[in-house]
Amino acid sequence: MVKTVGVIGAGTMGSGIAHVSALSGFDVFLYDIEESLLNNALQRISTDLRKSFEKGKITETQSAETGARIHPRLTMGDFSKCAIIIEAAVELLKTKRSIFEQLDTLCSPDVLLATNTSSLSVTSIASATRYPERVLGMHFFNPPHIIKLLEIVKCRRTSDQTIERAIQFAQQLGKQPVVVKDTPGFIVNRCARPFYGEALRLLGEGVTSIEEIDRIVKLEGGFKMGPFELMDLIGIDVNLSVTKSMYEQTFYEPRYKPHHIQQALVDAGHLGRKTKQGFYRYES
């Protein structure tokens, strides 16, 4: 039975995972390498909790208790007390492998070690450990305390028991778990590729304009957002890097081939909403 959760990395994803875990009643150790990063994370969590309280989703007591269950740490020593550790550090294979190597030594072999990677090989991260059967991917979606979906990623060497325990934990978090094999893009990033890829092709082939493709996809397809406004929201650089990573990891499967329109926007520094310009212009 999981009582204490460890979260490595206090960025957007890490703090969101700490938030949802603490809200579900777990004690959480939140680790990062700099105090300022931890302080920012605690600040963000407290802002998000206040928003949830204002929307009537949680009580004031729940909000206070959740905050009190999160313990920031600059060292990993306490992580040996955790039943499950979720890593949400920077998306670099070398960094993640090194973290897993440390955790593997620190924790007993029955502790679940999960990575929140969205684009790296979980199998490669797992192979940095001596007990890869307890290593898996737990891919949360942004923002983790709101989106219900959780992709549980099974590697070649992950045990069935690990997957069962991860599903149980996901349910305790109130998540909707889906199980997927460790393959490039898992389910969502992979199955969503054509949404962007074909839209870019249609634009490149001059079939119609950016605005019209978005309007068609929303009004004829019934999607909440069109592909171009969605790429602007996600970040054109982020979206391109997911596509590139899938294209490379599948040894250049043509369905995942990036489009030069994306690269040109990234080169121009037009990354979407965050730079006030992408496929569309945004007034500040």
Partner: protein, 245 residues
Amino acid sequence: MPTSSQNIFLIGDYKLIEEFGSVCNARGLNVLCKLNPPSTKKVLPKFLKRCASIPRNVAIAFELTNGNTAIKQRNLKALDKALNSKKMILSSSVTITAMEQSTWIKHPSRLVGMSAFPTLLSKKLIEISATTHTGSETISHVQDFFLKLGNQISVVQDRIGMVMPRILCMLINEACFAITENIASPRDIDTAMKSGTNYPLGPIEWGNTIGFKNVLDVLEALWKDLGEERYRTAPLLKQMAIGIK
């Protein structure tokens, strides 16, 4: 709204006639129709009146066939012959361009392509495509017709798959590849796409509703047209298309 006395005629695939006919009827039009073989006798809602031959007193005719080129060509030729040359014909141009279709008929200025694809015809917007032969008055008539029907339109270039059917079929194909490769269950794939990315339907349930044969037809037409490996179809999609028509 169009006047209630206005007759429109639909000829083509069962699914498209049932969906588009119901929309037109709900908005006050009198819908006459003729189904393609082998579904000629298939049960339709009562308000869709079947005709044995092409009625002459119609305001506008729709050719709604996607998969079968021979039948589509026969239908269009028959419409072109039976209807006064000023009457508009809207024809699905999802699997064959309107331009190619216009070479089949004697009065191509009346022909306009449309994005007739299952599950999309009852939505708020329809894509239309003109050819180099399409008369400007024909396009403005088509715009009037859809505006009165309460639909928005988007005029797009005359290309295989148009916009929404092409994106949608590629999404379904990708999910079929994922299942072919056994990375996750069909149910989990649908759940993930609805819950993780807010899609209105999961790709597999959407494919089931559309009919996988319809999805296959669009992708095979794209593959033939663009000649790229990108558009090759998942083995599972082909099997589903054979199994569930």
